[in-house]
Symmetry: C2
Subunit: 403 residues, 2 copies
Amino acid sequence: MPQAPFVPVIPAGGAGTRLWPLSRRSRPKFLLDLTGEGRSLLQGTMERLAPLTDQAPIVVTGVSHEAAVREQLGELGMAAVVLAEPSPRNSMPAIALAAALVEREHSEAVIGSFAADHLVDDQESFARAVASARQAAELGYLVTLGIQPTFPATGFGYIEQSASAPAEHGDPVQGDEALAASGALPVARFVEKPDRERAEVFLSTGRFLWNAGMFVVRASVLLDELAAQIPPLAHGVRELAAAHGTEQYDEVLARVWPRLTAIAIDHALAEPLAAAGKVAVVPAGFGWDDVGDFAALAQQLRAGSGADFRGIGAPDRRAADGDEPPGAGDGGDVRVLGSADVDAVSSRATVYGATDRHIALVGLDGISIVDTEDALLVLADAHAQDLTTLVARLDERGLGHLR
Amino acid sequence: MPQAPFVPVIPAGGAGTRLWPLSRRSRPKFLLDLTGEGRSLLQGTMERLAPLTDQAPIVVTGVSHEAAVREQLGELGMAAVVLAEPSPRNSMPAIALAAALVEREHSEAVIGSFAADHLVDDQESFARAVASARQAAELGYLVTLGIQPTFPATGFGYIEQSASAPAEHGDPVQGDEALAASGALPVARFVEKPDRERAEVFLSTGRFLWNAGMFVVRASVLLDELAAQIPPLAHGVRELAAAHGTEQYDEVLARVWPRLTAIAIDHALAEPLAAAGKVAVVPAGFGWDDVGDFAALAQQLRAGSGADFRGIGAPDRRAADGDEPPGAGDGGDVRVLGSADVDAVSSRATVYGATDRHIALVGLDGISIVDTEDALLVLADAHAQDLTTLVARLDERGLGHLR
């Protein structure tokens, strides 16, 4: 059983351009209710972590979203520390700053960093995995939760477990034994998003897990390792943490923050520490998704996800990536998020309706529709990744206000 | 060469529910600019007929559309007689009333009835076909223009030409010779919309033409034949024509109109007269379409039709019913009707935009989108016929105001 205090850290950033025009610069993905459960992804993340600790989580977000984040946390009535980044510096500075705050208060505490905009299906399985990860983190490891892959995804990075120690090496060393007892396994390396062929090889070995970007680590371990890798970054966040809560904080923030190295935790710590044998992974079977684009969102909504969707017609039992034509039945399978009034014939589609217009669908198969006051998107789920192209050129078309 | 005066008759009716929400009860198909040429289908029909005669055409429309029809005719600056039907009675009463008006003015005149909401591509070919039809009509035939079929359509009725007279019957009779000189051919029968299999048989014989609902006939012949088939109908419209232009007209209309048999000209006259050998057809090769649904409209817009469409990306050279995936190119082939601002990636689609919203399309293949203030339609062209199901149940959903 883990002993040290546990403090959740929630980096709340990312524009979510592949969910435009549902997500906008001013209302990014983590602030949205994408599941129809009446809470945003941020609120869902907070509620998922609350039962695992009595410590107030730390939410790190951009200064332009601080007010909205505080408002959503206020709706939950949960205590949280909100840190506002003056400018985006990627994930490492955000997590390191939170770690430095935690280290100042509890020198032995373990932090767990979980993105604000992911979905987790099975709360109990998640709680068990976090408990294992905390135990391994108390041994000094940087621990990640690795998702058991269910298909050869090309949209996620992968974590490769170390091959089992050959029998002739004799008994495992003490550290390995304690790690094994926690339920975590040593990590060989992190791998960037593969192509389809490599992803299939990964799955066939049984040694690869999806990298969900969840890291559990003793705050002091994170900062000490960071001090070895990128000393000014570790020094900067410790200086900020020392000033936090004082009158000087804003001045220190304005001076220190812009100089912090903008880098992802994967590159700054996870990859070098894995090479040094200091990373462990807890294989986890809870349903997880980063809801990275409309295809992923459609799949989530179709899977049910516990929400009260207004499915029209009989549910569709085919896989989301099936290529059969829509059912001959009248309605098909239409999922509606939002207040839209939708009627459909023979359609498999997902509708995000933010206006009071009547929406009629005929004969669609695997289409997502986002109906907002100033922008309408109609997208084939199979081409969901191509949305970035359109969003990227809004500015050059003089439509930057729509982003 | 035809000798008798020629008066075009334009029945302007039909709701066009298969083009909803572009067409509405209050703004039916014939009032819409469906080709992006800056004129409605009614205006296009008027302009197509104007060069063929110096007689003012007669437009017959519903009383609720009379004002809009007069306004559109006013924009053209063309003289026309507008007859308002107090209630819909199908096509025979409308055409017969126009014929009776013509008969009163010119006892030998020929009328030509052409629907207000069809498209014709080749004006010269159309003019030649009408000239042939007028010549045959002056011989006493009910003449129709039959369109050379280009594919085994199941959405149109067909006209079967009589088999050639066998050689052993000797010289053709005088009537047949004069008919042949006009370029028209005797008709064996009219056939309702066939299924695919029958349509293919029709095409293989080379004797079948599409029934475009275009009839050319001496006004007195039409009324005399109608008097033989449905005497009260012929009598009623002649009574109305006699009263037209007098102070009693409204009173006579209110009394007579509701009693007129509601029937299509095909059933009232064309079919029985064909059986009696009194119908002739002019085979015509001008591009024609009744723009019956969004699939037909998309095909028209894709064919160019002379309009200035804002195609996005490289034009698509595939047939409209091709089943290949959309091109790998960036834009694909998107046709935009209306003021909508559209951007697209890899999409073959048609957009009818009536709002100022930005419309983004990703990866669509054969999709029509109609974006209006109170209703949004997204439809797979291959299922265009199913739209009627949705429109029919607007009322039961309490959305009758959207029709």
